[in-house]
Assembly symmetry: C2
Homo-oligomer: 329 residues x 2
Amino acid sequence: MKKLINDVESVEEQMILGLVKSAPHKLRKLDEGNIVVRVQKKEGKVALISGGGSGHEPAHAGFVGEGMLDCAVAGPVFTSPTPDKILAGIENVHAGKGVLCIVKNYSGDVMNFEMAVDMAGDEDIEADYVVVNDDVAVKDSLYTTGRRGVAGTVLVHKIAGAKAEQGADLAEVKAVAEKVIANVRTMGMALSPCTVPAAGKPGFVLADDEVEIGIGIHGEPGITREKISTADETAKKLLDTILTDLDFKGQEVVLIVNGMGATPLMELYIINNFVQDYLKEQGIKVYDTMVGNFMTSIEMAGFSLTLLRLDDELKALYDAKADTPAWKR
Amino acid sequence: MKKLINDVESVEEQMILGLVKSAPHKLRKLDEGNIVVRVQKKEGKVALISGGGSGHEPAHAGFVGEGMLDCAVAGPVFTSPTPDKILAGIENVHAGKGVLCIVKNYSGDVMNFEMAVDMAGDEDIEADYVVVNDDVAVKDSLYTTGRRGVAGTVLVHKIAGAKAEQGADLAEVKAVAEKVIANVRTMGMALSPCTVPAAGKPGFVLADDEVEIGIGIHGEPGITREKISTADETAKKLLDTILTDLDFKGQEVVLIVNGMGATPLMELYIINNFVQDYLKEQGIKVYDTMVGNFMTSIEMAGFSLTLLRLDDELKALYDAKADTPAWKR
């Protein structure tokens, strides 16, 4: 294992401290754990919390800030944070108008966030949650019942974040988060695996000419393992699966070309070149495109494509101001 | 070679097209080559041009936009663009107030940009250039006489870009670019090599427990090849070399923790955690920190640290608005 770390035990905490120190006037870490909140707590708004296992940076702590999340709770690498940590986050950012948790659909995350929401209820904090399940690759997986929650989650952060910032109430923020979830689809692939620091070796092995199509963000098996083909053919394969799953024809969309952590921007742009042309051919209008690392799998090489169908409400919220380490608009 | 490309010949063009298609209302590609300019040409300002070999994405085309560059000219991977392409860029963005080229100190780049500046002069376009040489690792290198120009270049884009946007004349923009160059220092290291598509195999080989300290952004040899140590020790080694080279004590600085292309954000944040504490101990105040991929070497794993000494002028220009794919402020 060749990594720029100090020791396996301190990876998560040092990473969170390093993020917070990159924006010390905007972010701070709570003493209770690897929990990141805004320095300026905003009263009278619905508080948004996300989180999950570490290893998906910049998700989720990189999306804490004006217009997006109020708090991110980071578990160990690829492991859900425990309910007490999530509750500590809820208690801290709760500002009298309720709390919404945005949870990726992995069994551990759903269980622990649900428990934290219940515990918050016991303290008379109005809390609720939504589950993101945008991955069209597989129905059930190693760690999931139903579809996995992957890169589309950052669009839930963005749009529900904008709604909350505008002063909407908890039911309204939850409704718009669910609207995003209903309209967002993602699929990914990998060229090479990643190594969880505590495991010390890659989670799977691919031959020199082999890729995994439909992989999850923890390296969970996808749909097929096959010979590597061109960037265009690979992107087409992912897109066709997404476009079969939901009708995007004639729609306006946001597109995310997301790197898995070790993918050079060069390759992501080459993929985007094809995707834009292909979507145009299909009668789909791209309203905005994001290319970069948003939901990663440590140092996995590969990419995912995310499409979100827009309506006027989603478009306006997407365009609202955001000021976070990983998303400025 | 395992890459998400279509064929070796089309890498640069498809990449540039993919970038432009990610921001079609803001960027466009010239027919003359892999030359990116703003859609909205701004008249009456000094035009700023940069460029060099491809493979350093988002540099340089990702920094074209309001507050930064007017044009970026991309050569083949790790190879300077030819003078005629640079001249095509100069001719296009020239807006009656002169053109400044920002060139990284590599022999091929300096030669070709100098030639293009001369050719522009023959057409009565007032053009000039500055050479960035921020890398403290080595004096002369495989492709350079004197110090190499690396990640500090993006701070020249930012600050000279802000000055030009404010309406300064060519001499003033050049003077502030040179002020940045005089005050910026960088050093990098690699955990793993990168593969130039046309070469098909890595430019060098490192053992499983070996790193290269002081490496250049084309994988040129650095100072030492040594056993991998901790993130903190590695960062300290780079910082100590930078701090010995220029007196940063008592100064305010901008810090860039730059990934080389395949480095997970997790590791960059762990490095930042140490760097912030260490700079504080040394009596150096960090005004702002950027963590991410700014000047890469395709899919090399590793990082560089850049420090820029600020004064009031540089600070105000650094804080000015920028709206480019890779830098929004």
